[in-house]
Assembly symmetry: D2
Homo-oligomer: 344 residues x 4
């Protein structure tokens, strides 16, 4: 009954098998392995983007901050939501990598709207050189509250960014979960909507530790390689990143894992709803924010359930509700979900 994070689960057997298969003989290091060329070709194909530049790193934060710093000048500000991972969970890595750039928090909600984004952009660069200059817009898809921007919402946000000449970054730590939720193509969820660079997550969706960074305009990627090396994120034995990513893209493993996780989460949400839980956000991918009474949380924890309380703790009236975050990864068993729901 582990719903703490999609970071807590194991890697898919296909990933492990690929590591084993890669672990033979000598291979060129630092991204010059044969598999990397296949990955680039595969991603260009999947994204219908024959010019795209593709790079691998091992952590989601590295993908985000290396992509963003390539799009940002140190005197600019990055537009994102308050709950965004780059704001809340990266210990100032974006500011560090972007040479002291700022983050402008567009909203406290899960999603920016065209109106809130426009207002935030208009609020900056009102004082010539004195204030921060307008920089890229970073959109998180799946959002940190488990919701998914629709294609129309993405397009509208990108349109606002473009109207100011600002580039758009998509934090796709849960890219596949969003994609299968929307049922659109990768191109539609990215460059066709106006996205310039993507953090394409693997780690949360069944890999051990690998993320791709994709630039649709390869000129914007020119400096990425220097930034990756200088950030100490270029792997010498790069073949082990490649092996993971290639397996992830093979036979739709990435889509299958995401579909599984989303389906499990839908079943869990259904059960929570049936048990009377309130949802602060509509669960559209593999994350659920649901409010339950403290007494219920206590019972679930006592029975061994693992998940995070979000807006409170167990100290307080037993019948008062506290919102909790439940995340389903690809590996969660039906028995665990049913066991959990039975407890409810």
């Amino acid at each position: 009954m582990h719903f703490a994070s999609d970071n807590s689960g194991p890697a898919s057997p296909e990933i492990l098998a690929a590591l084993g298969a890669a672990n033979s003989g000598y291979a060129m290091g630092y991204g010059a392995d044969d598999e990397m060329a296949q990955i680039t070709a595969r991603i260009r194909d999947i994204f219908e983007a024959p010019e795209a530049a593709v790079y691998l790193v091992a952590t989601g934060t590295a993908a985000n901050v290396l992509a963003l710093s390539t799009l940002t000048q140190p005197w600019q500000t990055i537009f994102c939501t308050g709950p965004a991972h780059i704001n809340m969970d990266e210990c100032n890595a974006p500011e560090f990598y972007a040479g002291g750039a700022k983050l402008t928090l567009v909203t406290k909600e899960d999603k920016m709207t065209p109106a809130s984004l426009r207002a935030a952009i208009e609020g900056e660069e009102t004082r010539g050189v004195h204030g921060p200059q307008r920089g890229p817009v970073s959109i998180t898809q799946v959002t940190e509250f488990g919701t998914v921007y629709s294609q129309e919402e993405l397009r509208a946000l990108c349109d606002v960014a473009k109207s100011y000449g600002l580039p758009v970054h998509l934090d796709g730590a849960r890219f596949a979960n969003a994609l299968v939720s929307l049922g659109c193509t990768p191109a539609e969820m990215t460059w066709k909507a106006g996205v310039d660079a993507v953090s394409f997550g693997g780690t949360k969706n069944g890999c051990m530790g690998v993320e791709a960074v994709i630039f649709f305009d390869p000129r914007k990627a020119q400096e990425f390689e220097y930034r990756r090396k200088r950030g100490a994120h270029l792997f010498s034995k790069h073949r082990y990143l490649s092996a993971q990513m290639l397996a992830y893209l093979t036979d739709d493993l990435w889509l299958r894992n995401a579909r599984t996780a989303n389906t499990k989460a839908a079943r869990l949400a259904e059960g929570l709803r049936a048990a009377g839980a309130d949802f602060s956000h509509d669960p559209q991918a593999n994350m659920i924010f649901a409010a339950l009474p403290r007494a219920t949380h206590q019972k679930l924890f006592d029975a061994g359930a693992v998940y995070h309380l979000w807006d409170g703790d167990l100290d307080g009236p037993a019948d008062e509700t506290v919102t909790a975050r439940f995340v389903c990864d690809w590996s969660i068993g039906d028995d665990q979900i049913e066991g959990f729901l039975n407890l409810l």
Copy 2:
């Protein structure tokens, strides 16, 4: 009728005379001039702080960011208001100097309150190493909206900061204006309230370009000298900074200038109020935020008045009000104020 900024006025004749007097013969550079020792002694005396470390720089932004970066680790966040100069008007200099630290905006208002500060501090460092760590609190006195924190307000904010072990910086670009407004001692407005480091402004109050940075605990200043040099802010012909600051501190010039500016602003505010202007904030020092109808602004501009519109422009209904910022510097003539008020 120039009310655009206290940066726009001339320097006091005493400052110019001091430059002339200093401009003779040879002097040791880089802060080793004789006058600097006198300044340190004088500031220690004025602040009743015999251990204080004192340094000079030429711009207010330099004072702020060098002081703050000495108190901040790159993985921390600095607590300040949204309108704070360090957030709005320093083009990411605080982030740059602090190695990529973040700013957490406590409030959109002119003043932090103990409650809003506490809430902001509680909102950070909730995720172990993942989020930014809590860093210094930076208080602007006079605030960017012309109000002045009372001694009680300052103490209460510092108490909150201290309860979390956080150092406190005071952005005193208009230190003297605040001091004469409060009628308290420099010690009471700083270390007795709990302030650790001060940007002690001279430029806006009758100097050409000089600010002091004061650390009450000299251990905290240990690294300041390296930071100043590395920031390219150590003057070779330092005697010309010293001459200004020494003249500023002599015969209470700093207090006299501030009193004059505040008095002029009070007269201006009185006239504006009589003319029916609305004040978004109570003018307590030398800055006034007053709303007047567009038609009135137009008439005043046509007659040669110089000041900034704050929350709108002249495009719109003539009878609708727009808030403007009026700043009085030490040199503004009574005739200008009366001429302006007569126009009203």
Copy 3:
């Protein structure tokens, strides 16, 4: 016949097996996995350092720059050799992570001497705040030219550093190779000699991608965790770093692999010497720098040998010698070495 780099070879089967064993069920992320606690205990034991702080990262550059930046202030300079990896092969990552610190190149040779180190230290900090301040000394063991500092040499260098109050970092990307070459204990090669922090390499010696950073004084490590996270080097699925390192330290795999690599290199060196090759440096671990005539290189390359020419290329007189670098990893087969030597 692959002698290009110890980065090019595969991982030990034990490492792969450990990944497989770790790949089951849920595990706490970000270093809170059970294996990490075992690793810390094991390294404290191996190094006879019960207080040591231990952290894992995935690349050697990350280990170096995170360790060094913890020991360095931005206004300081790091003392190292010209050929040091941190100077030649990290694309300014040390300067980036240390906030703009400088590197002072003590020598162009493979090894610093107490005299050259002392001269370099004396050459800095001669101008008060104007020049860079003296910072840590970084020693590479095995050196970039395949030689190994003796215990006496290490101690003498550390003694010089300590006499100026400077901390010492050991870049041990090939730590195990050096250790088995010297035949001393890990403690003798580190803290007993005066080393404060170690980059303890795994990747080049049979792991997929894992390095430990060890601080003998845990107070010096206090900020390491923030630096690692902010550098985007904290793994969410940390268990896969832990699994590698724990397997590496189990049943002396780290020592066995190093002994194998060194032995193979010794056999290769013997053969090269017999074939008349000149050695610019005495091969003491698993790297050989040997000069052979261009014609010989051509023949070897034609036969499929893979290695790097170091100080020239194949354009030139056939009988002129060019120095090449040969590296043996743990996995190189005897048949490959003998085949190579037969070609010679």
Copy 4:
């Protein structure tokens, strides 16, 4: 008898008079003052560069590091001499402002040669993304040892830089002293030779504290304004920088002061030579490096002479020579020089 530095002397009376004249009424801040427009026009005229972008800052280090960081990427290395001010005397400010870029020391001598520069450039970027990338060349004119690059030398160095596509920065802290020494035009000493950006010094040559930064290609200056503000080097009361620079450029004050200083230094050098002093470098501007016996130094110091010993101190045999640096500023009196020489 003060020969310690051209930073120690007073400002020209014309500079002080200009400050007085500027100190009246209100002026737009932050570089929007009327005088700044005149300065730009004047410098474009003097340099025969109608497109040049011109900015003012208050310190030579600020001019250098803001100019250089505009030309440098953080993963690049700046080519300069070991004695260069940016290497020896700026406490890592270049590295800080350039986001962690490196300095490659071309030579330990006062001057780079085309051969040594080419060798240094060839020594970098030999390892793909692994090492630092080649960045700008920074030339110091007058050199730190009082010599002056000839036009031919400058052109040859710029030609080398251009052949690699690298921009060239000229550290002209003593620009005027070099110019009158060469007797060429400002254009010949800069863009006609191939220089892209100049730190045009005023402080050492009779100003209180002002330097111009000149970009001949205004596109290269695009980001300078953001960098200046973010570095905290944009003056609010900018008119006082402008007043100095405008006076400096009026009636050839800059050239007259430099001619005076050089002439005095020539007289001093003549006297030193007559007294048997050895010169390590040919004094070509206003700095002299001359070796005298310790006993002579002692006698001079006892008589009140002020200057720096360069390669030793007074501890040692009285008849052994120690090299000293003597700098003449514009204000040094003939009586002081003659008095000094009489002592000799």
